[in-house]
Chain length 270, copies 6
């Protein structure tokens, strides 16, 4: 089960509140590359780990738990970017400016639905969805999903970094980018620890797969092209279990020859 303490994992300060940046930060909360995704992804992956692999369960669950704290940091950052500043001079002007900015280029629901706070939506305003969570039951597939999530997540954080000049926001993002560096590396380390796990899943007897087309790059160029002699058309394949070849032609599977459906479907035009 889970516990909480009052402190943030890392401090979150905003010198110059900026509703536009508050909107963009939503991507790192409820977006496809955001912290809700990784927190829930690692959590559901952990839920599926059998008892005999307790260290893997802990590995996944501890990182899931860390990501929950990142949602908290980013939600704090959103609220602070939507807050006016504290000194009296700016206080006077604050209200109209915030409302004006929200109408011009803020995210409407941050005001209308959440009273100028964070929401479980992305920067375009679309809700977080369980569709983002990949937890396949197969550890190797899951690790690749995690490498992907941390790669796009760090990419997002670096892009956000370019959209702000606020020293507090830069500090926070430098921290989150560092954590993404670690997380990318840890999932790679786990993949290496799995040994030869490819092609995923490696528990499927590879002799059953079609042996003619499992290491062939099939061109679909309209006009047949010669082998472009790329790393994916020749040489040993990265899984070490076959050699790449190149085919300018696809196997022909014949026309799909469907029957008419039963009358009860009323597909026919009489």
């Amino acid at each position: 089960m889970f516990y909480h303490d009052d402190e943030l994992q890392f401090e979150v300060e905003v010198e110059d509140p900026n509703p536009r940046f508050a909107k963009m930060l939503q991507q790192a909360i409820g977006g496809a590359e955001g912290e809700m995704r990784v927190a829930l992804q690692y959590m559901f992956q952990a839920f599926a780990v059998p008892a005999e692999k307790q260290e893997i369960r802990q590995f996944l669950m501890e990182t899931a738990t860390e990501e929950l704290g990142h949602i908290e940091m980013l939600a704090t950052a959103v609220s602070k970017n939507l807050e006016g500043a504290s000194d009296e001079a700016r206080e006077a002007a604050r209200e109209d400016a915030v409302i004006d900015e929200m109408m011009r280029s803020g995210q409407p629901r941050q005001a209308l639905s959440a009273g100028l706070h964070a929401m479980p939506v992305d920067s375009n305003g679309a809700p977080f969805t369980g569709n983002y969570v990949i937890a396949s039951g197969n550890l190797a597939a899951d690790m690749y999903a995690n490498v992907m999530a941390e790669s796009t997540g760090r990419l997002l954080a670096t892009r956000l970094y370019e959209f702000t000049d606020d020293p507090g926001m830069k500090d926070m993002l430098e921290y989150l980018i560092a954590r993404d560096t670690m997380h990318q590396n840890q999932w790679h380390a786990a993949l290496e620890a799995l040994g030869e796990h490819r092609p995923v899943p490696n528990s499927f007897d590879q002799s059953k797969e079609n042996q003619e087309y499992n290491y062939t790059f099939m061109s679909t160029a309209r006009e047949e092209r010669e082998d472009p002699q790329q790393p994916w058309t020749q040489g040993e394949a990265p899984d070490g279990k076959g050699d790449f070849s190149y085919s300018p032609r696809q196997p022909g599977g014949g026309n799909p020859d469907l029957d008419e459906m039963i009358d009860e479907m009323h597909n026919e035009v009489k």
Copy 2:
């Protein structure tokens, strides 16, 4: 632009139509691990490739184009699993059996919305969504997304394989599993060809990221645990740019200290 010819990439035959399997095949069409996802993912990735990397654009686009043909194969497989068999004896019994089976354990919309044909939905009946498509603009991140997509895709295909005894369906899946083997390998080959690309994105000046926490596994166990001495807590990190360490304690970021919001939000209870 795109072209089409009438033949399938590989033949699709069904000996013993099975509406339950037709429902499951939807996952490979409109599901998170399905062919619509990879076709559109590789296509949108290709759309973003600058002119000077024409060979990468072709690489992505040709595989995107192949995946479009896989949607066609699977849609044919769905229709054939929902068709009655061709011999007269079974024809007589066909209609009630199909309707009965659809009511018991089929996917209702395959009958009600599509007249016993395939739909752009997953096996649970949820619609395909653009959320599945990952096209980040960064080639390394995209390649990891593709490795993930082909890993979960091949996993799905092997699971479908276990759910059928139909020889035609097994043939088709053996072909698709082989193609997934190739596609996994080709994206790995592209990653290798990129050279040292980690951490993704490697264009962000890594000296800017927080240097204290970028290679440290931070435990979030409630009770502090000793270093479990796993591959992700010690030794050189896979990106070759740091050494793993372990911390049973998180840095403390202080309490989030939010101000009250402006009165116009009516957040206050008076």
Copy 3:
């Protein structure tokens, strides 16, 4: 920030695994009345609490954190309902039975996407969505949202209770139903502690609202009906700030008199 320990909040045992019940349990994980909703709802509400109300932030956050542990319990229950039993005799028969049951009345993606484990979807197979989360920034509105969430949540748990005879599942549900009893009560207690907070939000100057129609039940029956003399058509209103009345007629607002739009919209048929 958040922490985790390895133990579940309450034990989860399944004597007689049942894939059909595994499907239904998904509603309590990723459904509109489920634990992901309340965990995230209380968490986002907590994120918006200003520093001066630290005890409210803790109140919300500690319950959010408890709900995270309920997701964990339920995900364990799903996996165990999809597992075969452990004794050898049943082991032999296990595989075909599970596969057959999944095809007949299981949730396809639990097998195909998750390898017979839990997913962030509801019992119909639709993904969890951020739309379920209500965090308005106004504490009174939030508390009513929480009472609603725990009322529909406890209702769901009692219905699940009726769908199972498994002693382990009954134990778990008796525990979760008890926690829902507590949570319903605690949000009500918080509402009482707010004092007279109605109508929500009570920070809006009520003299500004239209004074003719703010305590009148307006019938929309086609044929005018007499006052049905119900508790909502007469007597003092529950907020203590007006007396109910009844109107069989609506005020008339005139026809909506829209102009044509600008030519550039091409709304016109010439």
Copy 4:
């Protein structure tokens, strides 16, 4: 069944059209707190009322029907905010201004998909979804859902009020806020009329629920905290059926001890 007449329930005038406000009004049409939600929520609740409670069915259905008229009012308000003004001088300048404003801070689809009219989407541009509708079959749970809907709905209306200076829009919102006051009160009145209905559902034999933990606030603070002596940790619970207590420790449920899944799932990395 339903009927309609041409007049609006209350007049809708706009003096100074404002595309930014048109975007925000969408929240009150197709948003989580909007009129489509309450209209459909009360309607589906009414659909489930048994014949013997005809007065409840009428109560719900008549208010559902009123809310349909509010969608009509708000859609009129959106169109009028997207219309140019009528006098000739402004007419000349109107077209470019509208197009410019839509590009800068309007909602693109109001122009592109609807020709400058209302749509069933929220202010962020996300579509209305049936997920917003809560109709549980249990009257007490439904009434709490309705109190919540009218609380967040009135909160939204007061926030919209702060975003406009247009006298016509203020009139309309003063009317809608008044109706929300009434609706909040009427659902509360219905709850009072139900008598002692807590905990919801009260038809579940409460002696079956776990008796140790049904009135205990369980802290999930990482460091054990003393009883904060809040209204939710001591005294009689609001449902009158138990006394609150406080526990700094959770019951321990043991580790989740999952078996490996069947081989056919290919969860294993060999």
Copy 5:
């Protein structure tokens, strides 16, 4: 504004309750071809009609209003299919049978979320979405959307008809099919009344569109095919404004020649 009376538009009786059919009926409520769609579609279309076309507004709104009553009929049908039968003998057996059937082939949320009543979801269990509603602001486009909606709607109703033997359900569907016949015809009649309205929108100066390719069927067959001499490759086009021709070749637009993006996007792999 809207009104309601207690009677259904047409009677709804169920002799032999059938939870499987209750699931299928959901498609006609909350599905892409269902009554929520047409009710809201015609309503939003009506909302956009300018004052000078009052008779069109009434035409659309009166049919929208009728469709609201169809939702009510179908929701009644769902509840009655989920009810047990009334005679005592079956009453005794009823409860287990309903619960068993819901577990085997019912829609779980009809029980778990709605207490055995209708919901705003489709037969696959996916929620109704505002995406289904087409209200373009252009009357001709809207009428084609309505013809489409009533064509797929009547098709759905005839398919549902084939899935039931219940006399009450057949009566209801015969009525709804008849109404769909009328509605198809009325939208066609409105299109005819518009006179020459094609191509839609006809307010766009057609001389501006590319004159080489506006009446040419362009084949995208990989191998060039001869003109198949179909009604869409030769003869006068239905809009009477051009003659069809056939082209086995597409115009060539050159390669898309994208620049690299700005460094701040971190698209580059260094």
Copy 6:
């Protein structure tokens, strides 16, 4: 299966990049009226055509394939509108301007998730969904869906045309508008070729539908109105199979008389 060649179907040039227009172009890619919709709609319709109607399958599939090329053109247009111009003078200023414009009125995810490229989302930022695809299995219903799709699609293109002054964008849109003219016409031609196909589906024995109400316009005006003598209340119906009539009164279906549900649903408030 599908093929691709490197050239666009038609050239795409942008003289004056405009991030606001890039946002609007998304509607034509991933929106309800966009090219993803028609490409997939025609493709899934083609997938359902039986072998004996090969020419119809080719007709649908070739146009589906053309639409794939339109996605490619529009994605190129989006990227070019997000690119800075190529000359050095503007290059210097480019970066801040793009970032500033994206923050003010761009679509955040085009930068944050896609590195300033196209995405499978609409102009409001909502993801493409399989819900947009209509493929009913019945050719007449499908053709009406296609006429609707091309009508709203051409309407969208003409509206986009009004939002740009860029000569390159105008060229591209003049081409796409021309293609929509062709596609509208070709689906109409196919409908004409079907002969008398109404009411859709015409394979349902029309004598079974309710004969009293199948050609009657039923008014739902609250106050009974006289026959407005419109084309839909009198004269022969467009399908030639009945004569319109007008009824100011609806048939009365009695009250919906639902029983209480089984106790296990806990619908009751005791």
